[in-house]
Symmetry: none
Subunit: 297 residues, 2 copies
Amino acid sequence: MAELPEIRHLRYFATVAEELHFGRAAARLGIAQPPLSQQIQRLEQLLGVRLLERTSRRVQLTPAGEVFLAESRRVLDAVEGAVEAAQRVGRGESGTLRVAFAATVMFLALPGIIRSFRDRFPRVHLDLREMPTGPQLAGLKSGEIDIGFVREPRPDPDLEIVTVMREPLRIAVNRSHPLAAKATLGVRDLQHEPFVLFPAELAPGLHAQVLGLCRAAGFEPHVVEESRELYTSVSLVEAGLGVSILPASVEKLGWTGVRYRAIPSARAETTIAAAWRREKARPLIDAFMRVVREEVG
Amino acid sequence: MAELPEIRHLRYFATVAEELHFGRAAARLGIAQPPLSQQIQRLEQLLGVRLLERTSRRVQLTPAGEVFLAESRRVLDAVEGAVEAAQRVGRGESGTLRVAFAATVMFLALPGIIRSFRDRFPRVHLDLREMPTGPQLAGLKSGEIDIGFVREPRPDPDLEIVTVMREPLRIAVNRSHPLAAKATLGVRDLQHEPFVLFPAELAPGLHAQVLGLCRAAGFEPHVVEESRELYTSVSLVEAGLGVSILPASVEKLGWTGVRYRAIPSARAETTIAAAWRREKARPLIDAFMRVVREEVG
DNA sequence: TAAAAATACTCCATAGGTATTTTAT
DNA sequence: ATAAAATACCTATGGAGTATTTTTA
């Protein structure tokens, strides 16, 4: 790697490029003119490129100088941003990070991620709120939340989406239902059963995927109830209103009246993804996502 | 504005953050361990933020350190990019070259030159614009364009002018005009004909030359129309408004109502020249002119 | 107690200052 | 003739080196 210029060189050069006058630039920088001339010469020598064409009457940028000026400004902005970002975090003023999560993510990686992030960034306030996938995506776009944990989101040009884990789907039936007696079940066994489902607006991806599984098994499910929440879905199954297809982690809810069966299909899997607005220089989001990646390996 | 860290600080910090060990980081940086410790301390003092938590057994990043590391990498990348971009421009390998050309040059060497230049300097953006000779010369002087392809320019102390090709002039008459019946024509045959000409401001050299040819033939042309564009000149001839003397390449425009006749005079020739400002250290212009010489040489 | 960072000091490279010269208009 | 950049030379800050001490697992 070749030698790099120092920030000082870029500041000096940018100032001369703005003033197009070494004397005034030196005054603005609070140094004398000769050392400024020297630093610019040193910079040009370092780059091996002439940046300024100067006579005793006028100073002007070479084409290389124009390019280097634009790039230098970017660097200077980035440095200032770096300093401020570090100071904000150091003072714990980096604001709060508003994290939303689909209800079912509660039982998976989320608790570990939260604990680990709180450990490492004790001064960052995490504002956690449960929210279905659909509203989360809207909230991300409107700026109401910073990071969302969603199920099966559709790609979106405004959002960065990274899959953090996969989870199998399960068939859920009431324990006194005849199907509960069978050791293994396929989706096709549900073809004449009443279905309890999530409404499409709340979890569009999951909804579509369950419909897809049924159609792949050759039938259209007879939906008797669209619950508002995951908990409700399970309790409706327990109450015997119908069967459902749900993410495996709901087993951990511990409802005793429900039996779960694996679905022998590679497609019977939901992904959970983290999503955030495409924005640069969001150090807190970067930091959070680093923790996420470590936790989910 | 607070004091900024230097690139050196960021490099040192990033290396320590990667190694999480001052001794190894110092070795990688080619300096001793104590000055590295000092520079990191100085950086932390400058920021007013602790970046690394260190004991004699282990070094680890603070949250502010994590953020500053990510930002520092962005800065370091930006600096390297700035250096390389400036060097590329300095070597004439990238940048923008604003090239203007008289409309008639379109049909001659220009397409080949452009293609060949784009091949060899793919990172250079060519900003091409059609412009009559007069405005081109003004644009060159004002710095609005870098290179111009002009017809018969007058010499100019501020401009470097190199002839790139010669092209004969043709007499153009309407096909139903009595003169069209003759196999050969001289300029003198046009002496009582209405003339269509370029205005002097747009193509001073060509204008003067056509007048010169007429005067050499012993008459002053009766100019009925000064067209704004070359295309217009031809269409006016086609419309039967008058005769004209035009560069041979307009034949390629394919107007069927016009007949062209060679002019048997060594002076009935226009030159097309490339012109640019007399300036030193214009690698892009040099590179472009090398390609031009190869193509027309 | 051993490995590693911090301190103490020394040195010199170089950023920056002052005085002067060169250059182009 | 003059304004402005370059050069010459000097000073001193601070970056880097060596030797040593401190710290904690």
